[in-house]
Symmetry: D2
Subunit: 290 residues, 4 copies
């Protein structure tokens, strides 16, 4: 559902037991909370319960701060392990995009942001090559060119510069839109749960470099793309979204690259949207996407 | 989730207002009800609220009859228009299948029932042609051949015979598995919400006769199938499930028939499964499929 | 296959008979023609034969003009009804795009053209509203705003102006990228085989206005888009490409509009690409897309 | 196209050079050969040319034996490496199916064969468990139960018995329909190009045992199936066909197993059909599927 009213988005994960839904919905009902969308899920393997609720902000008699205070009491009853967040849709999320030379994902995101389809405050685009500067600036977004040398120290310095540029905006989403550089473990840690990558294969197949070449060599009949959270282990983070497209023997590597781009764009846009709407709850290596 | 424990399945539709989820989940929590799966949905166009809950039967201190009694009190608070049902997964649903000469959907359903994938008590198969008798009986299911004349009275008599054969089993599902005969309005009415048809097109395109020929003539690039509840208006009942498959200029009508069969089988099996698991809530011409 | 060498693209349709492939390929072999891609198809319903061949330009001892002269002799042997064309991939095709207010298809095409993925000389974008002017001009493409009144004469005048603007470029492709105005029959006729529309439904379902609203009302489980040649009969021209995306009860009309846009963009881009590469052969209401 | 006339199917692979299509089609035209379907493909990586032609048998003035003799002369001109085959659609292909306990693929194939959709002479079904005997025999097909011990020698003896049972029929297709036993290298070699396996994952992801468990652990958003030729390297043979289906966080392993079965059935049926119609040309690890 595509609500436009201001909402509070509550997400919660905790060990499953009887009465959680009742406790949470009872708390909301008690204060007149009008639930616009509600999702519940229990993972039978881990015994973990997940919920996400969208409540009309104007149906509650208090604001975000007090909602958080009061909800903290509810969550406290659900055990020490309970993890929860409450977001206000009136607070626009900030994003920074990292790119290299290939522009299709960036073009796509700029178009979606420009048309209002993707509701995010894009603060900056950072490229290790200068090529995508003009299109970025044509959309009124600042572009920073940070050249990456190949020597380890040059790289480390460049990453330090990227880190500063990114963190100046305190973004909720750091999007690696075909960035083509492996993030150092320290940045994976700092940006955990906020850094989102698009990998141009259907993971776990064809992790690492040149996945379309790998796919061609193996002779697969479908190629895909994967949007996932970045973790220290390359291309192994929790998956948010995936999709595929059919190829056949008439498709050589450049054809795969071309067809694959359409899937990369779609998968990244869907994954980022889910992330921005707080629909993704991570538990171990798996995600719940409400 | 594919639970195997005995569950009570509660489904409810009523005008939306604040506190319904709280009231329903509070009722369940009060009695220790362990919710295995819960779905909620509000239709913003009609202002109607829908929910479906699966509760472990052994988590409640009472049985089906008392649950129904007690839940009736809860539902009464939700307004006169509220419609609800509670099913017990321990009570196997009964089904009757109507067929003509084409056997692919019947074969598929028999295979799924035989392997235990589709949990239903298939009481009889009724055919207006005798061809599918042997395979039906090889699976241990009674087969009735009811010949349909072309004269209106002969047809009416045949339908009367079908009605009796069907209703002898009081089935929760009456499956038209490529039956190729238009049900009289009176039967559509009697079997409302229980008669399920598979139509071999992506409705509303190509309703009526010879949909693959229509699709070929129009030159579409995808063909499909639609599983829907049967209503008096031909091929216009509420849709439960649809899917499509790609075709191109190399596919003539027999190719479309062949490729389409695979989609018909899948779509009917998925639609029937949702119906049998009480996942389908109908509201006007639209369905909520939890 | 994604060749980058200069090629001659031969397409031919004629009544089927023995020896056509041999005659055409024999002609090419005789002159040393190196075939990079070849497609053949016989339509069993109409008895019509279609072929499309890509030949390396540098493998033939003559140029386009002489190839056409010599091929005319071959085609003459295949009967009076034979229709054929030869295109030179070195001659860039010219296109004009017509838009209204919705920019997603235009954004997508501009991105593909800008990155070199779609090889076309976009000469102008014409809008009946001014909104898409700035983004068009940011890509270095001229934009013409032609306001459309609602009175019949005002509309006729506006179309006359559009006609002049379009025909000044003698384009091989006139793309209605969500133009939202019905072309007059005379323009359909003049631009036959060159005017390409994207309709936001899976035709023949939901032709005409507000297809997503129609789809929502009908409760379909998949929505789609159709790229077709424009003919005088609204939304009934030969289909080049179609695709669909799954929706469910949680999707209201704005959700369908949003999800549908992704399919519209893809389907239009694929259809236009096939058209520009001379892959589409029209026969009656159907297309062969090699 | 779904022809029912008797046809000769010519397939050829050889190093690419100018004039091959002309030579082959010229040979056919010279004798009045009526081509019903023709496919050509050049692999730009390996420089290898592939073609497959279906010719109406009654359009040629000679039979299969003479066609082979005469075509041998044509092929000889195309170099020593040329590999070719000619099949007669009047000669029904023989198949043997190997199964274990899971019946969904067997059920599906029996249904397709019984309805005439899949045109093959199924000579026997061999199971390492007895469960699928009755359904096989209900379709009038002999069933052989060959128990497999767990000791290496018992296994070797069982495989020797399977080999004898299979080779007694000299089958063109040996179908491992969820056989769950790894073929010894020697049988892979003997049955090269004839043994077809269905693996229940989207290879190369999740090769080996329990692929749905692997998929669940990794948290992928699509699961798939792969039909491939059996080679000595486990799950690494040339891929004939693949497909996928969407899953989400609500699907546990049993749900994946159930949804995956539908894809396994489809992918195996499509792959086997392509094999039986001589549409699959293998070159290294990749396939051309006309």
């Amino acid at each position: 559902m595509s609500s436009t009213e201001r909402r509070f988005v509550i997400s919660l994960g905790c060990p499953d037991r009887t009465g959680i839904v009742s406790r949470v919905s009872g708390f909301l009902a008690e204060h007149g909370g009008w639930i616009l969308e509600a999702g519940h899920h229990t993972d039978p393997t881990t015994g973990w319960f997940f919920t996400r609720q969208e409540v009309r902000a104007d149906s509650l008699p208090f604001g975000l701060a007090e909602l958080r205070e009061r909800f903290a009491e509810v969550a406290a009853e659900l055990g020490d392990e309970a993890e929860w967040q409450i977001h206000d849709t009136a607070e626009k999320r900030r994003a920074v995009i990292l790119v290299s030379r290939e522009g299709h994902c960036l073009h796509d995101l700029l178009g979606r942001i420009g048309s209002g389809e993707l509701d995010v405050d894009l603060r900056a685009v950072i490229g290790n090559h200068p090529e995508l500067g003009p299109i970025t600036e044509a959309h009124g977004i600042p572009f920073h060119h940070v050249p990456f040398g190949s020597a380890p120290e040059a790289k480390a310095e460049a990453f330090e510069q990227v880190r500063e540029l990114v963190e100046a905006h305190d973004p909720q989403a750091i999007v690696l839109a075909r960035f083509m550089q492996v993030l150092p473990a320290e940045l994976c840690q700092r940006w955990s749960g906020r850094a989102i990558n698009i990998h141009h294969s259907f993971l776990p197949s064809f992790a690492g470099a040149r996945p379309y070449h790998q796919a061609y060599e193996r002779g697969v009949k479908l190629i895909g793309a994967t949007c996932h959270y970045v973790t220290a282990e390359l291309d192994a983070g929790p998956i948010i979204e995936q999709d595929v497209i059919r190829v056949d023997h008439t498709d050589d590597v450049p054809d795969m690259v071309r067809k694959g781009r359409d899937i990369e764009k779609l998968v990244l846009a869907r994954g980022l949207r889910s992330h921005l709407e707080h629909r993704v709850l991570v538990h171990g290596k798996r995600t719940v996407v409400f």
